[in-house]
Symmetry: C2
Subunit: 115 residues, 2 copies
């Protein structure tokens, strides 16, 4: 595989599976290219909530807006340039705020295979 | 492991090993926490150059400034919110520009073990 570059305009957002909130994911690189990690952009409408089990190691870099992640009774909030790491095996409640959010994510292994 | 949050102020930057350019890395999560991926922040002074072999799958999310990556005769440039994916096995020349850059990176596996 060769070096690749992406920007948000490349993202083909689809509603994240198994939920009906305004939370969308766009894989840029995943198992289809044969590499070990998935790379993508995430987009959140305002004030959305998603409770989910994290089945892969999942790194979220917030690019716009803010995202809060509650787990084990603790809530962490990240804004632009900040990172939230959700290790495999955690259960989380992900919340966007009034401005929604744009994130980039990297997972190992491929989240869409592990769902 | 539990959900973790990081911001650039958490970064303990060290000059990236094996080179003397103003290019610094700060691992936030790596093999020491026992997970499979390394997460960190990268900082580049203005107009720095680094030629290196990529020995892990390496994802760079540009947060500030711009970074160009040349590989196989092609140069890709990313600004804030844009992503450069450097797959394992590629050889690259990484260049910062007049404003330097701040990036976040995720590698699989741990780059500092693979060096």
């Amino acid at each position: 595989m060769k070096v690749l570059r992406y920007e948000p305009a490349d993202a083909m957002f689809e509603r994240s599976p198994g939920q009906d909130a305004d939370i969308f994911a766009a894989n840029l690189v995943d198992q289809r290219q044969g590499g070990p990690i998935t790379i993508g952009y995430g987009r959140y409408g305002p004030d959305q909530v998603l409770k989910t089990d994290i089945v892969v190691d999942d790194v979220m870099v917030v690019l716009e807006g803010r995202v809060s992640v509650e787990s084990d009774g603790e809530t962490l909030t990240a804004g632009p340039g900040e990172i939230i790491y959700m290790p495999k095996g955690t259960t989380v409640i992900i919340r966007s705020h009034e401005d929604g959010a744009l994130t980039s994510y990297v997972t190992y292994p491929h989240w869409s295979e592990a769902e």
